[in-house]
Amino acid sequence: MTPRQRRVTLVVGILAGVSIAGALALSAFRENVMFFFDPSQVAAGEAPIDKRFRLGGMVRPGSVDRQAGSLELQFVVTDFQQDVPVRYSGVVPDLFRENQGVVAHGRLGTDGIFVADEILAKHDENYMPPEVARAIKDKHGGVMPANPDLRSVPET
């Protein structure tokens, strides 16, 4: 091989390798590393029974039921259309609050109760002063929307 041919082979080889690696990574994302469902999908029967998946939504206000003296916890995850009851045993993160986003990992039992083995409080990505937060909530019926438009907020 001449040096020129070598260089061409090298470049073609690198391009081929990188594109195959990229294609494989893309197929991985198409496979979806872990399934994510919201309560409406669960209610529609789209979620698998007895297979781990992630359930995401809001903690319904007034639904958190803590057994005194134990780590047993029950609450309801809602997307304001459908509800899914969740049972969990363990310590919850500090930002786990009513009316806050939550992601639960676990399995759906045949009784329709989602048994979680891990609870993640989803902190939203917005930073804002309390009065702005209040204003946005007022506009949306007391609930923080998923993606608030800050420019639409009146000066406080």
Binding site: G17, L24, V33, K51
Partner: protein, 237 residues
């Protein structure tokens, strides 16, 4: 000797593949003469894995939960141990120098060398893993998934480690440095590999994690030999 002017008339086989084959044959011969190193590495893997039930808990239910981590950390440490000798012996007796002078692309030769190294260390580790997993309470049905995950993972580790092995060639404290340099680069392999193993053990589909592992392997095959070649050149100065 009755050759005439030997310069232009020499029939020289300039194909690359026979050279790679020669490397594979030679390393297999060397293994037959000295099987000690390979056995040491397998023994190390076994000891590390078996220490966990003793140091943690003999309950299979508990062990099953940490099995993916135990297997992967054991395999990672064993591969690092093996990588220390990847280029060292050849550099010390001067044979590696001749690889640089044979007129073939060094990266390709190193790829062959690393591949045979994986065959002699990574593959045995992989084969051993499902058996060790059974001692950690994992069902034997998980074996195919574990084999696939560890097979891909150890291959990626060998390739990535070949860069660090080249960079630390001939250095004092080379072994410690080798681990320090390889570990950050090995993090993605560890994450996807352990994830795939975990999913397999739980009885879920590990396809996505295996795709990501395969993607890392392909990327490593493409780029690691080039970096390793640069590293070895520098290491032999």
């Amino acid at each position: 000797m009755s050759e005439g002017l030997h310069t232009q008339e020499v029939s020289r086989d300039t194909r690359l593949l026979p050279k790679c084959a020669a490397i594979v044959v030679r390393d297999l011969q060397l293994l037959v003469r000295r099987p000690g190193q390979m056995l040491q590495i397998l023994g190390f893997f076994v000891v590390v894995t078996v220490l966990f039930p003793l140091g943690y808990s003999p309950e299979l239910g508990k062990l099953r939960l940490i099995a993916p981590g135990v297997l992967w950390v054991g395999a990672l440490l064993a591969s690092l141990l093996a990588l220390e000798g990847l280029f060292r012996d050849d550099a010390e007796d001067g044979t590696l120098e001749q690889w640089l002078l044979c007129g073939q692309p060094l990266a390709a030769l190193l790829l062959a060398k690393t591949a045979v190294h994986w065959l002699l260390t990574g593959l045995p580790l992989t084969v051993l893993a499902p058996l060790l997993a059974v001692t950690l309470g994992v069902s034997i049905e998980a074996a195919p998934g574990i084999l696939l995950a560890l097979g891909l993972g150890t291959l990626a580790l060998s390739l990535i480690g070949s860069i660090a092995a080249g960079l630390t060639l001939g250095l004092r404290r080379g072994g410690v440095l080798l681990s320090l340099l390889s570990l950050p680069l090995a993090v993605p392999v560890l994450i996807f590999g352990a994830r795939a193993t975990e999913l397999v053990i739980q009885g879920d589909s590990p396809t996505a994690a295996l795709y990501l592992l395969a993607s890392l392997v392909v990327l490593a095959i493409t780029l690691a030999p080039l970096a390793a070649a640069a590293a070895v050149r520098i290491g032999l100065e």
